[in-house]
Amino acid sequence: MQAEISTKQTATHSKPSGNAFASKFAKSMFITVSVIVFLSFIATRQFTHVDLNLYGYMVGTIVFIGGFFYRFIAWGERPPTKIFIKKGIKLLFRKSTAKTSVDHLATYNFIWNRGIYRWTQHIMMGWGVILSCMVTFPLVFGWMYFTMPENGFYTVVFMGINLMTVKADGILAFFFYNALNFSAVMVITGVSMVFYRRLKNMQARAEQKFMYDFLPLYLLLFISITGLSLTFQNVVLHGWGQPAMSLIHQWGVIITLIYLPFGKLAHIPFRPLSVFARNYREHYMEQSKKECKVCGTSFVSTEQSQDVVNVLGVNNMEFETKEGFHLAELCLPCRRKYRIAQFSGFPTHEVKVKEANQNAKG
């Protein structure tokens, strides 16, 4: 097995440039870090505007990227995952991608259908975190900073370009300063809702584990509270204890970044795969449909049917029947009736009667 994989890899990386790196991991790391450094170089006008107070976040980010690639590459090597990533990238420019992405990644319509309470949780935490990342990381890498060329006015510099000038006590500036406070309140609201559900819901109580379900919540709470406390110390306590709290806050963010690719939060960076999966299903369903070998109903795309058969084959599962078809080639009702037939000896699947009510709601 091992030998087989490595020969395959050398075969695909036969271009000379691919061999400069010991592994996919090293290559991905190198490219990503180079891109970040390059962007920072441009944005900070050749490193003249770097805020070294935020140095801890830089280290945290680099460690996060390492963890992320480590997880993602191991995961992407699994046969079914590989198929979705490869074909998903190919289908990325479908017309529907934009709409599906908004549905799945921004408005979470599918979570709305799972329940309004859970949707609200997600919007609060999801957008709270996204908002704070959108503010924090451009600051950390110097992609965005503020200058005050004349008194009373700030200039927002984004990617080295003077983006706009705002009044220091104006409404826009107010939103800039307080973006992180708003996002902290959003995250705290979301996390509290989750805690409430986890205490009340019996199923959640039966299944939850500290490391998987609770730790990420505590981390988010820790970051939000220490973040808010920074504002409080600034405004009410005139900066008392701020340097220490700032370090504690940074420390919380770094721990979270390190944890992120491994625990429950890993579903965030992996979620875009659901857009890939939707595109894959829509595209190949338009191409050609697979008809059930027993009743002739089309139930899946030919491509997906073949992909699943191949993946099962890799796992040494060949569901060939004595009638000469693969079980994955039967529509679901026929496949179930075929099994009943194996038990009873009577060919239930050949009786042309629609299956009795199997609706999940009875």
Binding site: M202, H267, L332, R339, Q342, S344, F346
Partner: protein, 187 residues
């Protein structure tokens, strides 16, 4: 406590569908059942059989899942999709040799029998086996299943659980219906 497993005696089924009704009431099932009851020969007689997830030892559903959303519990139960991981590709529904996983288009989420894991992990029988009035679905230890095997050993190769009537080794044990094979069951 000796480990127990689900054991089916398919021919006992009277088609009451209590198992399905009970399934809807299990915690986390959100009032939807996750298994099936079929008429064997619908135009001729009333014989029915339940079709349950058999909790394969090497589950095709989990192997085909690109998101690793289907976890295998330490008791051997093959769990329903983790809500945060399932990406809605439906590979699992195509892969399962028995057509068990159900898919909710609106929620973009697969759901399947989890053997009422909140109960069975503590040794409480799953909802279906708790209510089945005909002993089609039972919750038995391996030694009890072995005793059944001795009791029903008809010496003609027609009894005995699972293989070769299934596609692979399963954690749920299935007893084949003697009646329909022309052998009388010895109660």
């Amino acid at each position: 406590m000796e480990k127990k497993r689900l054991y089916l005696e398919l021919e006992n089924c009277i088609g009451c569908r209590s198992c399905l009704a009970a399934c809807t009431q299990c915690g986390g099932h959100e009032e939807r059942n996750r298994n099936y009851v079929y008429d064997v020969n619908p135009l001729v007689n009333r014989q029915t059989m339940p079709l349950m997830c058999l909790h394969c030892v090497n589950p095709a559903c989990a192997r085909s899942c690109p998101a690793q959303a289907i976890q295998i519990h330490e008791t051997g139960a093959v769990l329903s999709a983790l809500v945060e991981k399932c990406i809605g590709c439906q590979n699992c529904t195509i892969a399962c040799p028995y057509g068990i996983p159900k898919f909710d288009e609106e929620q973009n989420l697969m759901y399947k029998c989890d053997l009422c894991i909140d109960r069975t992990k503590d040794g409480i029988p799953p909802m279906c086996a708790s209510v089945c009035p005909s002993n089609t679905l039972q919750w038995l230890s391996d030694s009890e299943i072995e005793a059944k095997q001795k009791q029903f050993n008809l010496d003609n190769g027609k009894w005995v659980t699972s293989l070769p009537y299934l596609e692979g080794e399963t954690n749920v044990k299935v007893n084949l219906p003697g009646i329909l094979q022309g052998t009388t069951k010895l109660f």
